[in-house]
Structures are given as structure tokens and as C-alpha cells.
Symmetry: C2
Subunit: 265 residues, 2 copies
């Protein structure tokens, strides 16, 4: 998760397809706009819109915090009103930290992402509204949206900075777009997961050695001892190479023992 | 999602229960430590550990970016080695942006959160390792962990800052702890969702008015016209008060029409 891991920037834009527009209403700090740009590109989003930024729009002030997310900043658009910024959108979500006294559906970021993915399949273009750093969205902006989004977070400390709020929404959206398995077994270089035949061969080798050393005692406990050892090694999810390594370790112990026996007294 | 929405700080700590420790290995900037502290408190986490911070540990350098998350900074511990920082933990996750050539399970943040929640129920304490800003974790740290975590993000732009990486892990963990409905209907103040009887009363009122005005024409299309109107108003999820408002609007049109008729020519 660090700075030297990116591919050439030219490819970053290739992953920005079909995501929601991010609309910042009256953002105050250029640095925050840069950080939003970075969070957006992380999440494959490149449609950034500003409504009436407090200090105007300055590429220079945003650039450093944007950390190379130029494809987003170069695509940025500035509008005078929220109405203009939303004009081409079909579905708009408004983010709020506190509940508003309004007749409007309230969803989690995960549900919003699911809704946006469904809307995109129907050909609709979605956008997400974020308020200014100090006060959030005005109710006049929220009534332009279809749905409000509240992030379930520590109720005693809900304050998220702008880029973090954008990151959570973008992250959830991106998760609807990827097909990554929740859990996969990393396997190093040339090797692969062991087959059950290789594992059983190892278990039998281990049994032979431990029978020879006298570890398997008393006899009535041996079946349970063997089961426990097998379960432990199953849990370790050994690779083919690791099975070979363990068998090598067993052989080194046995050889060491033979050498001791053979040594002249 | 903005700064003025927090409850008194004293209550923020009450929501920090049972979460994973966050371990920053060789963090470089005090400001980043402060931003991590803020992201942690957002997510109900208060166990922050530093391993060998580059510039030592300075409360002052972290404080501004920490935005009032003192309960985390005051609880912070500094260690010389990763081994010491992990000593009391049962399960450790290591975050990486790029795949490492290692035989170790790789999970998404969501899966990691699910595993941590399960481990906490079994009485185990979990921790999450984050590497330094510029280079991520060293392989010697990763081998101290049970599981690696990779965030599915734009493959062309994976660079997350430290606080953002912590936020995503903390956010996913917090989602396992809350029981918020994905979607709820916000209802303003005194009102409530309309009953079906109230809606049908409105539909019949509308039918009467539109029959009077001659809108329902030609006769063979009237059943479909009525169905379309009813579906549109069902979709709007009206409240009791909104039904009354619409009926008031209908009455105002009809009264206006009667006045016009009654006016002397």
C-alpha cells in the first residue's frame, strides 16, 4: 500500500469505466481536492466536478496532494451551481454524517454501491454529492438527490475528511466491479499446493520416524496423537515443496541419530 | 461527513471495543500518524502501536492531523521491534499493495474483517501490520503474520496513503460490528409512511378530478393511464403528510376552476 507500487500512469485511466461522478460542493482547500483526486483514481473514478470552490480552482494547489492522479485533475470540471453539476446525471446520492429531517431513503455505502452498479447496467449515470469540509451539504443540495448515504462509523466520532469519505464510497463502488476471490492461497514461484497423496506419504514417513524414536506412547493414545498431528499439518496448507522440506528434516534427524549410534564409543 | 458533527469526545472511546490493534512499522511522518489516529477513532479502534518510527514519536507532530482523536494518541505504544509489538496478539494480518512471492493466504479487507470478528468471538486478539509510507512492509515483517491482505483497487494506481489504508481496514472491521439496515426510509419529524388506505383514497380523489377535467381520454386507454399513475405514486413512497398535501393541491385546482366558472362573464 505504498508509493512505489504503481504501474505507469497511462494504464491507471484504463480502469476508470462507468463509475459515478464525484461532486464536491463548495470545497474549501485545494489540497483536499488533490487528495480526493488520488482517492478517486485508486477506485477507478475519473469524473470529478466542483461546485463553486471557495478559493476558485487552482491546479497548482491540488497537484502535490494528488500524487500523480493527473488523469482525474485534467478531466475536472467546475460549475457555478449544484443543479448544473448534476444536469446530465440520472441518479444522485448525497452523503451526510448526521441524519437529516427529510423524507428520503437512507442507505449504507455498500447498498449505494450496489444500487449504482445496478443503475449503470440500466444505462443510468450516477453521481455522489459531498459537502464542504466544515459543514457538509446544505439541505437545498440534498433535495436534488434521490438517496442519502450515511457511513456506519463510531457514533462518538463521525468526522471524516473529504478524501476519506470519497475513498469509502469509491472503494465500495470498486468492489462491485471486481471479481477477486475473498481468500486465495498465495503460492511461491515454482511450487503448488501439495496433493493429498504427497501429504499422506509425509504422514506415513512421520509415523515411521516417531515409532522408531519411541514418541508414540502410550499405545492407547497413539490413534489420537496421529489424528492431532495430521490435523495440524492439514491446517498448515503445505505446498509440494514444503512437504519435501519436512521430509528432508525428518531424514536429517534420523541420519543424525544413526551417526550417533554408529560412532565408536 | 464533516467536522461539526461529532458528539462530545468522551463518548467516542465508548465505541472502541474489541477491535484489532493497528501496528505501523517504521512510519516516517508524524502527520501521517495523526491521520491514522483519526481514521482509527472513526472506526472504533484505539490500540495504535508504532515500531521504530523514523523520527521518533512526537505527540506534537501528530496532534494537528489527529483532529481530536486524543483517546487514540494517549493510548499509543512504541516498540523497537515488530516481534515485541505483536507479542500479545493471536492473529496478525499484513497489508500489502503488491503480491509477495510467499506461501501465505491472501484475503480481501472484507474477508479479513470477517475473520477478525470470528477470532474476537473465540477470545483471540488480532492486529494489522502496515508498512512505511515509501516501501510498505519488509518480508521479515510479513512472515510474522498469519495472513496477507490486499485491497482490490485500480491495478494501475494502487498507491494508498497510510491513513487511507488504515481507514479501509477499520471501516470493514466496523461494518462487522454494526447492525444498521442497508436501506431505511427517512421520515421527517411528526409524520409516517402513508397507509395503503390513505393512498387509495388519494388515487380515487385523483381519478374523480381527472375525470371531471376530461384528462382521462380516450376511454380504452383509461385503465392503463390509471395504472401508470398509481405505479408512479407508489414508487414515490409517500408519507401521510404528503398524501394530504397532494389532496390539497387537487382541491386547489378544482376550486380555482369553480371560481373561474362562477365568475360573471
Amino acid at each position: 500500500m505504498s508509493g512505489d507500487d504503481r504501474l505507469p500512469k497511462s494504464s491507471a485511466a484504463d480502469y476508470c469505466v462507468g463509475g459515478p461522478a464525484i461532486i464536491l460542493v463548495k470545497p474549501q482547500l485545494g489540497e483536499n481536492i488533490g487528495m480526493v483526486s488520488r482517492a478517486m483514481l485508486n477506485c477507478g473514478l475519473n469524473d470529478l466536478r466542483l461546485v463553486n470552490p471557495r478559493d476558485g480552482w487552482s491546479y497548482e494547489k491540488a497537484e502535490k496532494a494528488a500524487a500523480g492522479s493527473d488523469v482525474v485533475l485534467n478531466n475536472l470540471k467546475v460549475f457555478d451551481t449544484t443543479e448544473e453539476a448534476l444536469a446530465d446525471l440520472n441518479h444522485v446520492f448525497a452523503t451526510t454524517a448526521r441524519g437529516r429531517d427529510m423524507n428520503k431513503p437512507v442507505v449504507t455505502p455498500r447498498k449505494a454501491a450496489d444500487m449504482m452498479a445496478g443503475q449503470a447496467q440500466g444505462g443510468g449515470k450516477a453521481g455522489i454529492l459531498f459537502g464542504r469540509e466544515s459543514r457538509g451539504l446544505h439541505n437545498d443540495d440534498i433535495v436534488l438527490s434521490d438517496t442519502t448515504v450515511m457511513v456506519p462509523l463510531n457514533p462518538g466520532y463521525l468526522s471524516l475528511n473529504l478524501a476519506q469519505a470519497v475513498l469509502i464510497m469509491g472503494y465500495e463502488w470498486y468492489q462491485t466491479q471486481v471479481d477477486a476471490p475473498e481468500l486465495r492461497m498465495g503460492v511461491k514461484g515454482e511450487t503448488r499446493q501439495a496433493t493429498k497423496q504427497e501429504l499422506v506419504g509425509f504422514f506415513e514417513h512421520l509415523d515411521d520416524c516417531l515409532t522408531t524414536t519411541g514418541f508414540y506412547f502410550p499405545p492407547e493414545k497413539v490413534p489420537t496423537m496421529k489424528q492431532n498431528l495430521r490435523n495440524m499439518f492439514q491446517r498448515a496448507q503445505l505446498t509440494e515443496q514444503e512437504v519435501k522440506t519436512f521430509r528432508g528434516i525428518l531424514s536429517s534427524f534420523m541420519k543424525f541419530r544413526r551417526q550417533a549410534k554408529d560412532r565408536p564409543k
